[in-house]
Structures are given as structure tokens and as C-alpha cells.
Symmetry: C2
Subunit: 144 residues, 2 copies
């Protein structure tokens, strides 16, 4: 994807389509949760399907402790030598139990980081998605 920055502006705010496109080309992100007042952050693999995020993770992962429809934040990013992007999703996560839901989750193509036979599936129903693209550069010196 090409991103056209306004002159001298190192940050470009992306629209929803651009943000989804960036998410669909990557498979690794992080989920932030706040359960019982304790904030935490967990790396995850994810897949995108029908405007939802799907996660697949192993037993014992902290995400298993989430309540139904727990509010979460999710981030994925990419960094090259002279540019970077970051997409943030806010939504509600639920552990999937019904076969029809798990079938939809499988269609997202998400695979877990580590091999296990008992991993579970999580769907994130998206409330909002936002993204930014950065042109990386040197910090200008403050004039004395």
C-alpha cells in the first residue's frame, strides 16, 4: 500500500478501509485487557473475517480468564527502515463455544503461535478501528 503524507507531516491518519487492509496482511498482534482492575497485555496471532477479529490461543493463556463481552484493545503494527504503521481496535471479546461460530473463526485462517490440541477461539466484535502511518525520521534539534 502507498500512503500519501501531506508535505512535512510525519503522521498520516488512516481511514477504516486502510486500517483493515493493513490488518489483513499481518497475523500477529497484542491484546490489552483490564480484568478486575489489573491491566495486562498478551501477544496473539489473529485472523480477519467479515469485519471481525479472531484469535486462537492455548489453555492457560490469560485471555481464557476474560468474561463474556469483555472490553479489550488490540494493536498490530509494522516497522520498516523509514516508515511504520500501527492499527488499534477497540471491541468486545468472547470465547467461542458453538460449532457455527468456530467454523466462522476457522475461515479467518488464524493459527496459534504454538502447537497444542486444546486451544480455544475468541471473536472480537469491533467497536472502532483506527490507524496511523508514520514517516520515520530524525528528531529535529530544538533551537537554542
Amino acid at each position: 500500500m502507498k500512503f500519501e503524507h501531506e508535505m512535512n507531516s510525519p503522521v498520516l491518519v488512516l481511514d477504516e478501509d486502510q486500517s483493515w487492509q493493513l490488518l489483513s496482511h499481518t497475523s500477529h498482534g497484542r491484546v490489552a485487557t483490564s480484568v478486575a482492575g489489573l491491566i495486562d497485555i498478551v501477544p496473539v496471532n489473529y485472523g480477519v473475517h467479515n469485519g471481525k477479529l479472531f484469535l486462537r490461543t492455548a489453555p492457560g493463556n490469560k485471555l481464557a480468564a476474560m468474561s463474556i463481552n469483555e472490553k479489550i484493545a488490540f494493536e498490530a503494527d509494522g516497522i520498516l527502515s523509514d516508515e511504520a504503521w500501527s492499527v488499534v481496535v477497540h471491541g468486545s471479546a468472547e470465547v467461542l463455544e458453538h460449532e457455527a461460530d468456530i467454523k466462522e473463526a476457522r475461515e479467518s485462517g488464524v493459527s496459534p503461535w504454538i502447537p497444542t490440541q486444546k486451544d480455544f477461539w475468541i471473536r472480537v466484535n469491533v467497536d472502532s478501528i483506527s490507524g496511523r502511518h508514520f514517516q520515520l525520521g530524525e528528531q529535529p534539534e530544538v533551537a537554542e
Copy 2:
């Protein structure tokens, strides 16, 4: 760094020294905050110095809204073709205002993503650090 997994174990729990070492070789992570009940996640550049994390970010960044000693979670990771690692820090973040603190922050070598003359500095006093190393592999099929 070399990580010795026990046979057939795809996950290795790292000790604090290993976790700090991994952090010191990378400069990009994410901070999760929960301010007024709203969970959020922000990409950051960071530096490590004297067992603390230092962040440097632009005005308007959501991190500027943090209270003094706000509890945060921080994550950095790295992914190669057949292995991955993730380090998570829990701690308290504070925006630095005194010159002596900012001097220490500068020694961490942290640089921001984007050029600005008015960025500010944040110190994370670390409560805990943990890390995991993953040997990536195929998901085994469940026997029918």
C-alpha cells in the same frame, strides 16, 4: 541469545535477566493503559536504563493523559521464521518534569517515532518483568 527448550516443549519461560536482555536489544513496544475505565493500547519507542523503561512521545499522544504513577502494562516481542519471544512488564508510569530525571531518560537512548520538538518523557518504574520464548510449529491434528 540461545534458548534451550525442554524436549517437545514449545514454550520456555524466561528469567528476569533473559527478559531484560531481550528488551535491551529492541526499541519498539506497546503500552496498555486503563484510564477512567477505558482500556487502550499505544505503540511506543523505548529505552532501557538502570532497570527502568523510558518512553519518549509526542504531544497529543494518549500517554500524556496518564495520571502520576498510573499502572501500565508494556509488551515488546520479536518474531523470526521458526521462533518468537515476548516480554511483558508491569509497572507505574510517570511523566518526567525535572531536568535530572530527563537527563537519566536521555541516557537510555530512546528516540521517538516521529520528529517533533515538544515531545515528553515517561519513566516506567518496573514492578515485574516476565518473558517467554516460543518454538513455532505446526498445529498437531486432533486424533479423530
